[in-house]
Symmetry: C2
Subunit: 339 residues, 2 copies
């Protein structure tokens, strides 16, 4: 009983066999909301998860809160991050909280064992539970707390009716070009607003063209956030992570952000375009291959770059180093552009 489905965007081969495949949707859009290219369902409503963090960070700068607290590019990059809880990240988050006169207990993200191996093993060795700063979203939450303090709002900043979340919701509606389709609660307890994939790509295109897409204070805020992400790729994710590697490899031609369940967004200032991807099955292996392929397709990444190869055209080696398989982005993404 076959059913219709989105196209295959990435494939896993083992020997001569197509072993697994990742279906999904992808949209490349302009700041005016025009779809330049699309695969699958550009109108599909998705939860962008962490791939929208730069939108959630916009009130931090636009409201003047970041300047009032003297925040620099490091904190802004961390506000846009899904970091892996290395000392680099947790130290910055702790100092940020201290600057606000707050502590780990003021966060509402909860803790989880960090992805950074050294930090994880340190906690295991000490039989210690992770702090909330270890949460990959703690920078975003420090940003929410900074806005909360700046506008004098109450401490439960992840409540969907909290003024900070209302600001985020309004930004979503203005940048994606339509009302949000509701929200769900994210892994870090913040509301995550549901939007069409096309709207998410449009919002990213607006970050790619802040001076023409936005008025003065928002234009400056969007530019500052983009510049902070580009300047501090290690703060946005961490060693060996796709976002960090891609931002470095694109050398200013793109900012990218992953989200849970295989969402990926990209901001391409040279082309004035935004990209949004959602792999149906939620596996980051697929969204990483797709975003690398689209970055190459739109001139932000070279196909002979080791980062491209690792994510979109990679031999798979086994425990003895034998190449037995291959991960590759689908030909529909890597082939010549129709337009």
């Amino acid at each position: 009983m076959p059913t219709t489905a989105n196209p295959v965007l990435a494939e896993i081969w083992r020997g001569d066999f197509l072993e697994s495949q990742h279906r999904g949707s992808a949209v490349v859009a302009t700041a005016a909301g025009e779809v330049v290219e699309a695969w699958g369902e550009p109108g599909r409503v998705i939860l962008p998860r962490s791939a929208c963090k730069i939108m959630q960070a916009l009130p931090l700068v636009e409201s003047g809160a970041a300047d009032a607290e003297g925040l620099g590019a490091e904190q802004l990059a961390l506000a846009c991050a899904s970091h892996q809880g290395a000392a680099l990240h947790t130290g910055l988050a702790r100092r940020w909280l201290a600057r606000l006169g707050l502590t780990d207990a003021d966060l509402r993200c909860g803790g989880h064992v960090p992805n950074d191996p050294e930090a994880a093993h340190d906690l295991y060795h000490r039989h210690a539970a992770p702090d909330q700063v270890h949460n990959n979203c703690s920078g975003k939450h420090c940003g929410f707390l900074t806005v909360t303090r700046h506008i004098g709002a109450g401490p439960e900043y992840v409540d969907p009716d909290h003024p900070v979340q209302r600001m985020v919701r309004q930004i979503f509606e203005e940048l994606t070009g339509g009302p949000v389709a509701g929200f769900a609660i994210d892994g870090c307890s913040a509301p995550n607003f549901a939007v069409p994939l096309r709207g998410l790509a449009t919002a990213m295109a607006r970050f790619a063209t802040p001076e023409t897409s936005f008025s003065g204070s928002r234009a400056r805020a969007a530019r500052r956030l983009f510049d902070a992400v580009i300047a501090h790729p290690m703060l946005v994710a961490g060693e060996g992570r796709a976002c960090t590697d891609l931002i470095r490899a694109c050398r200013g031609r793109a900012a990218v952000k992953t989200g849970a369940e295989a969402v990926f967004t990209a901001i391409l200032p040279e082309r004035g375009l935004g990209i949004a991807i959602k792999i149906d099955d939620g596996n980051a292996r697929g969204s990483q291959a797709a975003v690398a392929a689209l970055l190459a397709r739109y001139g932000a990444l070279e196909r002979d770059d080791p980062v491209y190869r690792a994510l979109a055209d990679a031999p798979i080696r086994n425990c003895r180093g034998i190449v037995h398989g291959h991960l590759r982005a689908a030909a529909t993404l890597t082939g010549a552009q129709a337009a």
Copy 2:
């Protein structure tokens, strides 16, 4: 550009949104090769990966090698295992090698960091590389070495032309009811023979009915392997792992085995049936939900069992313990049987 695809077998909901889904194929078959029920493509050729380990272990018992070396149910369970490299597993593998007069260096599986947290952290703490016994397949390889010694074959037992692998290939062809469609090299360097999903389900049904499906020595070997798996679920995988939990929860009504890239097999002796599942995208979250649903559908697992709930009907909690989503097997698997 929608394309036709296999049906959705598992869904991930977040709030009111269907966030991700897993498509795939599943077959329930009799020992005669009759398809009782099927979803997707029963004829699809797949690499069964570790879900076929009980077939790869059959020569160990059938050849008399296991008896010649005095192996018991523990070693046979480990030969059928994808274990997580806890001391329980590596200790048994090391003693088995010593009994053969061999060492870790005689294995050809390569090493990988074990999934067992204590073993992994111990290696990290000692800055030590994993041994080959840590490989989740080391029990299978000890089995291969035991047969190799018994028949006086050479040491390169993972070579596809090695007598042991020829024995495995012949078993695949006899049990699945047709020629293999080739092979690929598995993560542990052993050849992994490609077969139609229906053939894999048929082979499992034959393990469910050894006395009527096989002649004397093979019948006894198949029964011994099934009994060993049922008797030692911790050796087959490990603490908190789906195979271990499902074998325990089925209380003798089924043996199950997972394979990489989201393959799952089940042997149901009470019904005389075999099950084989392949999720297209390779995510075990999908194959675990599907196998639990089919075990319940065929009376081997109760739907109110905590193991069923955890794998096929599970709330998803975030870092603060808030339920924000739900994993569930598709209604097409959990609904009433058509037959």
